[in-house]
Amino acid sequence: MRNWMSVVLMSVAMAACHPRYVPLDERGVGGSGGLDSIRARILACIAARNYDQAREYLKLAANMADDEVARFEQMISAGERGLVPFLEKALPHIFRAKPGHFPVETAAARELIQVTVTEANFVGIRAGGSTVYQRILDTGAQVWVYVFEGAIRDAGLNAVPRTAEQLLKSR
């Protein structure tokens, strides 16, 4: 009976975990075997909003590079703050050494993009359905972000800011 109740309680607890992040099978986690497992667990915890557990797993990742640890810490923090997440599959498109983009996925770049997605920075909705946000940094550069169905699909940094009209013009 007690075992049966445990199963029920576990099921209720799992159902209550409303994912804030794209499901695990939507993500790319490459790398070595042990770290892969830890990465997957951290992402699963973030998806389940279990941020304390995510931090515990991050502590186990002794061999993880400092920049990757910083990225995971930023992901956990962003989740805690309820920031709009990235669609993990879009990351190779968002972070690349091309004009208008952040060349590398760093914690700082992720943070700059995610904190741009606020009501105050809303520009409008493009013809294809992407919601556009922008803000001007102290450097004068413009962070731009496309959001679709609750996830960041594209983003970057314009050295020369574009007007709202230019950010929304489709054809």
């Binding site: 493009r126 294809g128 950010l167």
Partner: protein, 150 residues
């Protein structure tokens, strides 16, 4: 044979893609892709990188050599040759395919690539696609007002 400058071919591609999107106007992967690729003459593409991705695809098609990210950022249309209708179509296919690969192969774009598949001598998997491409090129030729980008 009529040819188009790379910028005209890009505009024809966008006319083609928006035309496909207009069939349903359902928000989804094609709509997002069109949003990113939207082109404003004199300004560039909505996602600035898409323009350089296009130029890199055209250069690779014309030279057979891969183009690095660093090199693509320095490309200009003037450095490239005009494209005929077939080469323009193949460049479009490759441009879409590269994006599809980069973002984890979304099914909607994959289906579109399947319909657009091109076999020299046989045409496109979905015959309507080639007709749409020719119509898009004609539309751009009929409306050549545009300034060179980047």
């Amino acid at each position: 044979m009529t040819t188009m400058e790379p910028e005209q071919a890009y505009r024809a591609m966008m006319t083609f893609l928006w035309g496909l999107w207009d069939r349903t106007k359902q928000p989804g992967e094609l709509g997002i892709f069109c949003d990113m690729c939207s082109y404003i003459p004199g300004v560039g593409t909505a996602d600035p990188a898409m323009w350089y991705d296009w130029l890199a695809v055209v250069k690779t098609l014309q030279t057979g050599l891969p183009v690095s990210d660093a090199e693509s950022a320095t490309l200009t249309p003037a450095a490239l040759k005009p494209l005929d209708s077939e080469k323009g179509y193949i460049a479009m296919l490759e441009f879409i395919r590269e994006y599809w690969e980069r973002v984890g192969r979304p099914a909607e774009i994959g289906d579109l690539l399947g319909q657009m598949r091109y076999t020299p001598g046989a045409g496109t998997a979905e015959p309507e696609m080639w007709k749409r491409w020719l119509a898009a090129m004609e539309e751009v030729r009929a409306n050549p007002s545009s300034t060179s980008n980047a």
